[in-house]
């Protein structure tokens, strides 16, 4: 599965060590990596990188590293750690980057499962973990460390520099030790093994080939027009597939310049100094940045605050339209330009986003307001949907077609299919080879003809965009066949501050009905301002005014659902407000505060029945556990209310 033509030139660039040789030949003086050391950004050009990789590879060969050997790499994003991956690949080995904050046990599993004989650790902290592992996993024979700090008493280990000295001696005797091995590499070889953090069971080691990675790097770069010299700050874990594609594969394939921050604590400063043109941030980071900006603006003087508020309102209206190339009136254009001068420009500079051409976020659901904040500022923020098993890229928002509710369109050569169950499947040249030593899991995930199960439920909308609605195993169907995605509906409800939790029912039923848990603080405050008296949670939850409030919000949700032809049939018809807050202590929520839908359905069976038998109220008695461990019971009548559905805007197609 190669892209492009099969002439000799393409073949010469089918592995990273070959790409490196090519880059060192064609542009030895061009920058490849940067690292801030002793307060100054040090630039390493391709010539330097090639030499460093060659020396290290020779040193590894001298220590007995052979084709097929695995090299564990553990530490922060450092150029030398990235180079070590290429050194291992030069000898036909497979690097295995590991999350630097994993505890010794997790690391031990990876070392043992991967059968690694070699490990490279960034510093003493990581070395100590590896030494502990070595007692249990004796196959780990060689430990190499990079940072000599505090390593004076670890006589039995090798330093990075010592290994390179060994390499230099070996190369003096046999100059083509490394180049001969590089030439043996093929695109179909295993390039890397990345362990995916499974939510259940042990992590699985996804094996990706050079063909997978080189395709992904090219496809991603073509999609958004990345070019040589684009700058990137690599601050996300090296063991994560995203960093491996952006900071490693695309660095070699496209020629991106990879900048390594001084330390995890200095990322914000480094971001500002580098001013990357290509940026990735998980939603959590984007949220934190907005919170910081908001807090600092609240502390600012009146004039600054007013200016910020005024221009941000302009930006929210005009910014996304300008980015998408939609028509904007001259007055708005002028206002936006003015805002750019006094607010957005300086703010983007502070955030280190002045030069960003393409920014991605991915992972969990991103609130549209967060997404739009950056787009309003003029940062081209997009969603990306990907997986380790896909070498990242499945879908991306194309320029000019950024909709917060979707995850974009398939990247070229990616085929999408929606299974009968609603699960999203994809097939692409980036699809992983296998899970290492786990054929069972491989067969479960990947079909014989190359389709991969994502485990996510979703659909393609009329614009050809993919929408992810829920985990596939949670998605059900109403009796009339309409797709029912409980988490999708619950999340829409929880977006309202008055609603703390929601539990949606509908699988195998005629319509969707929900339990609502009010937020005591938000609703309590709302009630106080309206002189609505209440003595307890139970009493507040039962007030008709509160029911009116929640009904209004559910109607809003229904309107949103009606706007979406596939979801229109899954509007909420009946609801009730629970007289008790759902608690992890009562087993109603998991410890990470996710609702346990099945358990709640059993426990509150009389209420669920009332939602579907048309009765106006129901009696319920549930046992509760108090914080001091004593048991008690809450008993009472709960009203059930009907909500009128909206008519669908379009027929489902």
């Amino acid at each position: 599965m190669t892209t492009g033509t099969a002439d000799s030139e393409t073949d010469a660039r089918d592995t990273f060590p070959k790409l490196l040789a090519e880059r060192a030949r064609a542009g030895a003086a061009r920058p490849a990596y940067r690292e801030k050391e002793y307060g100054i950004w040090q630039t390493y050009n391709w010539g330097h990188v090639a030499e460093q990789v060659r020396l290290l590879a020779a040193g590894l060969a001298d220590l007995g590293f052979r084709r097929g050997d695995r090299l564990i790499v553990v530490g922060d994003n450092r150029p030398r750690l990235y180079w070590s991956m290429c050194a291992a690949q030069s000898l036909g080995g497979v690097p295995v980057p590991v999350y630097q904050d994993s505890v010794a046990d997790e690391l031990a599993y990876v070392v043992d499962h991967g059968g690694a004989r070699f490990a490279l650790a960034e510093n003493q902290e990581q070395v100590d973990k590896l030494l502990e592992i070595q007692k249990k996993v004796p196959s780990l024979a060689v430990i190499i460390y990079d940072d000599p700090r505090g390593m004076r008493h670890y006589d039995q280990l090798q330093s990075y520099a010592e290994v390179q000295e060994r390499g230099a001696r070996l190369l003096a005797a046999a100059p083509d030790t490394v180049s001969a091995e590089v030439a043996k590499g093929r695109g179909s070889d295993d390039a890397i093994m990345l362990y995916t953090s499974g939510t259940t069971g042990r992590p699985k080691g996804a094996v990706l080939s050079y063909d997978n990675l080189v395709w992904a790097a090219r496809a991603g770069a073509e999609f958004d027009g990345l070019k040589e010299g684009d700058e990137l700050l690599s601050y996300l874990p090296m063991a994560w597939v995203g960093d491996h594609i952006f900071s490693y594969a695309q660095c070699y394939v496209v020629g991106l310049v990879v900048n390594c921050p001084e330390s995890a604590a200095t990322v914000m400063t480094d971001l500002r100094e580098i001013g990357p043109t290509y940026y990735f941030a998980p939603p959590r980071v984007l949220e934190n940045l907005i919170t910081q900006v908001t807090i600092r603006m609240e502390d600012a003087g009146l004039l600054k605050r007013r200016l910020f508020q005024f221009f941000m309102t302009v930006a929210r209206r005009v910014g996304p339209a300008l980015l998408d190339g939609r028509p904007v009136s001259p007055v708005d254009r002028l206002l936006y330009a003015l805002g750019n001068l006094v607010v957005f420009g300086p703010l983007k500079n502070t955030l280190g986003m002045s030069r960003v051409r393409v920014a991605y976020t991915a992972g969990e659901a991103v609130g549209p307001e967060i997404f739009n904040f950056y787009r309003a500022l003029g940062v081209n923020m997009k969603q990306l949907y990907g997986q380790t098993e896909a070498s990242v890229f499945v879908t991306i928002h194309p320029n000019g077609e950024v909709y917060p509710e979707t995850v974009g369109k398939p990247v070229s050569q990616v085929e999408l299919r929606i299974a009968e169950s609603g699960e999203v499947l994809y097939r692409s040249p980036g699809v992983f080879k296998e899970y290492f030593k786990n054929p069972e899991a491989t067969n479960d995930t990947k079909t014989a003809d190359g389709w991969v199960h994502t485990g996510d439920a979703g659909y393609l909308d009329e614009r050809g965009h993919l929408r992810i609605i829920d985990r596939a195993k949670d998605v059900g169907k109403l009796n009339d066949g309409t797709l029912f995605a409980p988490k999708f509906i619950e999340n829409k409800l929880k977006f309202y501050p008055h609603i703390n939790e929601a539990v949606a029912f509908g699988h195998g039923r005629d319509y969707v009905a929900v339990f609502v848990n009010i937020d005591m603080i938000a609703v309590g405050d709302w009630a106080e301002r309206r002189n609505i008296s209440y003595a307890s949670y139970q009493e507040l939850a039962a007030r008709p005014e509160v029911y009116d409030l929640i009904e209004g919000e559910i109607e809003q949700v229904n309107r949103d659902l009606a706007a979406d032809p596939r979801m229109a049939g899954a509007q909420i018809r009946r609801f009730l407000v629970l007289s008790k807050a759902l608690e992890a202590d009562d087993g109603e929520l998991t410890r990470t505060n996710k609702v346990r839908r099945g358990f709640i359905g059993e426990r509150y069976k009389p209420l669920v029945d009332a939602l579907y038998d048309g009765s106006k109220s129901a009696h319920i008695r549930v046992e509760v556990t108090f914080e001091d461990g004593r048991k008690g019971a809450i008993e009472g009548n709960v009203q059930v209310r009907d909500v009128a559905p909206h008519t669908a805007l379009k027929k489902a197609g």
Partner: protein
């Protein structure tokens, strides 16, 4: 951790029969001990035992009425603080003594002052030799910043930093002078467990990486016993114990001083 069984043949500093009084108050009475080259030496004792006075005598801030201090083979009855600094003795203080309005970087740069040869005039103009010298010194300071892992506060005004970090900056400034003997006056006072652990690691690393001899005063007995090679115990201005941590721990006079008996 590796058990610390180390031997130190050379004496760097020895204190002989020091007595110090302020009017009628006897702060130190007839104290003698030595500090070997390369070791971590602790001075412990209850409040008011004379620990800080002892440190002040060593770096020449107090002048004892009796006794002599031999440092690097030169015996003298008193020394001025700036002489001590020139001789390679640096210290930190119990109450942080940093320039609060200046950045971490600038504070540590002040520690390089002794190493600067160019005069005020050239430094003010910031050209020629002064500029070269500044670059040299900045390099040394950046190494210290890297060593103490305080890159993220390089440009932050020291006054805004949390206490534990200020202590670290103060250690950085003392290190900037590239001392042979580093005196630390309660380096861990007022810190939480995590900050103490960090500071312990830095003290051990300084000793290990730079071979700096360290003399520290500390209240926290656990810390002292873990990181010191030898310990001197003072109580009411008198020396009541001296030896490796295990000896000191089993010394009855020391136990009594710490548990408190009537005098």
């Amino acid at each position: 951790m590796v058990a610390r069984v180390r031997s130190f043949p050379d004496v760097l500093l020895s204190v002989e029969n020091i007595s110090l009084s302020f009017g009628g108050v006897k702060a130190l009475t007839d104290i003698s001990f030595d500090i070997a080259k390369g070791e971590i030496r602790a001075i412990i004792g209850p409040n008011g035992a004379g620990k800080s006075s002892m440190l002040n005598c060593i770096n020449g801030f107090y002048h004892p009425q009796q006794g002599a201090i031999t440092y690097k083979g030169v015996r003298r009855s008193q020394m001025k603080p700036h002489e001590a600094a020139e001789q390679g003795i640096a210290r930190t203080f119990q109450n942080i003594a940093l320039f609060r309005g200046m950045s971490t970087l600038d504070n540590i740069m002040t520690g390089r002052n002794l190493r600067m040869k160019t005069g005020l005039f050239w430094q003010a103009l910031h050209i020629g030799p002064a500029q070269r010298e500044e670059i040299e010194n900045r390099k040394a300071v950046e190494r210290i910043i890297d060593f103490l892992e305080i890159q993220h506060i390089r440009k932050a005004p020291v006054g805004q930093l949390p206490y534990g970090l200020q202590k670290r900056v103060e250690l950085g400034r003392a290190l900037a002078a590239e001392p042979e003997l580093l005196l630390l006056d309660e380096p861990m006072a007022g810190m939480n467990i995590e900050e103490k652990q960090d500071m312990c690691r830095f003290i051990l690393d300084v000793n290990d990486e730079f071979g700096t001899t360290i003399c520290l005063i500390e209240h926290d007995m656990g810390v002292v016993m873990d990181i010191s090679d030898r310990v001197v115990v003072l109580d009411y201005g008198k020396k009541i114990g001296d030896g490796v941590p295990d000896e000191v721990r089993s010394n009855e006079a020391v136990v009594a001083a710490y548990l408190g008996v009537s005098h």
